[in-house]
Amino acid sequence: MAKATGKGGAALAFSHVSFSYGEQRVLDDVSFEIPEGEYVAVIGPNGAGKTTLIKLALGLLSPDTGAIEVLGTPRERFSDFGAIAYIPQQYSVDRNFPGTVEEILSLQKGENPASVASSLDIKPYLRKKFSELSGGQQQRVLIALALLRKPRLLVCDEPEAGVDAKGQHKFYALLRRLNESGITIIVVSHDIGVVEKNVRRVLCINRSVCYFGKSTDTRTLLRKAYGEAFGHVHHH
């Protein structure tokens, strides 16, 4: 089992998990454990099973076989929904959604929306429609929505999508601060360059193999998972 040392129990643990879309096996007997307090990127090229892995962790899909534990509780019995926050890809949000930023933040009970909006610099466009914001602004709103839950585990799906380099830098700096405040962070990414620079550890996945290591060893892990050629590509 791929495992990293950490300070607490497991934030996310997969034990011999397999999953197929119809006839197509996407994950095959995958096992790993991410300790609480980690800042991890799940990496691999398109089709490697990254998003499937995250959907299984979030309970959006059910495994064919194997067991998943989230924050120490079996996924099927997990009910502490406030402990997990999820930042979906911006592209998965309907572009015609008519709601304002204020309305979106009001969907979440918890932390004071005004203070979160202020800390993320989104106060000036609280009254604006979400669909009228830039990619970076939309991302900050999604982060604010996630933070209102005061989560223990934050999962982000491809946060680079639709955001410029400056926005990405700000985003990862914010994630680092959140991690330092004790939140476990799992980021799905296919951008090796961004991952190497920003996260602490990487989980490199290729259907049936899983390697866990320091982000500085990203290319070595990718070569182990995908072969020699892979360490030199996918640098965005």
């Binding site: 979030l58 959006l60 009910s79 999820y86 309907d94 959604f97 709601g99 309305e103 969907l107 009228e132």
Partner: protein
């Protein structure tokens, strides 16, 4: 002035307006959620399925509205179930229930000649023929829809914003979608008395589409959609009564005009602002 006198004089006109207001509110509230969830055509599908249900009821000698309601509810739940299981796309599932409803109705018309007049009255509808029971049914449907929207508002907005996000937060998406489908079936059944099976989906979709062109927020979209729907039903009914034209056609024609107007307004605003709105 004569309209006011007519309203005071004719109880059928009072019933038409009261029932029409309830139908307008029901359809606008549900329609806004349906349009934003890309289920605009579900009203069309349920209405055609209701056609088959009406035919079965008339053929078997049971109250046609009851048989249509049962068939519509079962059909809407079936669509929701197979779409949730990703067995087929939503539009394809709706195409199947349209075909099922129409084919059932057509077969029964062919087998039992003689009830086509009854069935055709539902195809084109007439709000001016609403009875007291019909009005109570409209008000009951409105009460159900209003309670649903009021109690589930936050969850509905979240599901509309991002379904996966809602699931991660523990929102029972399947149950809420099933409730939405059942209420849509109820709304379609009461609305088909007003505008007819052929035009009922317009009453669900057009107010929301108009509102989305000019709204400033989600709540504003719901409010605008209900106002547009209300105005078109009330004005359409009174125009139809005054000029002796079919009510359903008048209401939907007004909604189409409103859509053209809001679309034009949005384009003007976008041109003036120099950006896409």
């Amino acid at each position: 002035m004569s309209i006011i006198t007519d309203l005071a004089t004719y109880s059928f006109l009072q019933r038409a307006l009261l029932g029409g207001i309830a139908i307008a509110l029901c359809c606008a509230l549900l329609g806004t959620i349906l349009v934003l969830r890309r289920l605009s055509l579900i009203g069309e599908g349920i209405a055609h399925l209701a056609f088959g249900g009406l035919a079965v009821g008339i053929y078997l000698g049971v109250p046609p509205i009851a048989s249509a309601l049962v068939v519509a509810i079962l059909g809407s739940l079936w669509v929701q179930r197979i779409v949730a299981r990703a067995q087929v796309y939503a539009d394809a599932a709706i195409a199947v229930i349209i075909a099922t409803g129409l084919s059932t109705g057509i077969i029964l018309i062919g087998v039992a000649k003689g009830f086509t007049v009854d069935l055709f009255s539902y195809l084109f509808g007439s709000i001016l023929t609403l009875g007291v029971t019909d009005v109570w049914l409209c008000l009951a449907a409105l009460a159900l829809v209003a309670v649903f929207i009021a109690t589930q508002y936050r969850r509905l907005v979240l599901i509309t914003f991002n379904e996966e996000l809602a699931r991660v937060q523990g929102v029972p998406v399947e149950r809420i979608t099933a409730a939405l489908a059942v209420l849509t079936a109820c709304a379609v059944i009461v609305a088909m008395r007003a505008v007819g099976i052929l035009l009922v989906s317009a009453l669900l979709v057009l107010p929301a589409l108009c509102a989305l062109q000019v709204s400033r927020s989600f709540a504003h979209t719901l409010l605008l959609a209900t106002c547009i729907s209300l105005c078109s039903v009330v004005v359409g009914t009174l125009l139809a009564f005054s000029f002796n034209i079919p009510v359903g056609g008048a209401i939907v024609a007004l909604l189409v005009l409103a859509f053209a107007g809001t679309l034009g307004w949005r384009r003007l605003r976008s041109t003036a602002g120099g950006s896409r709105v």
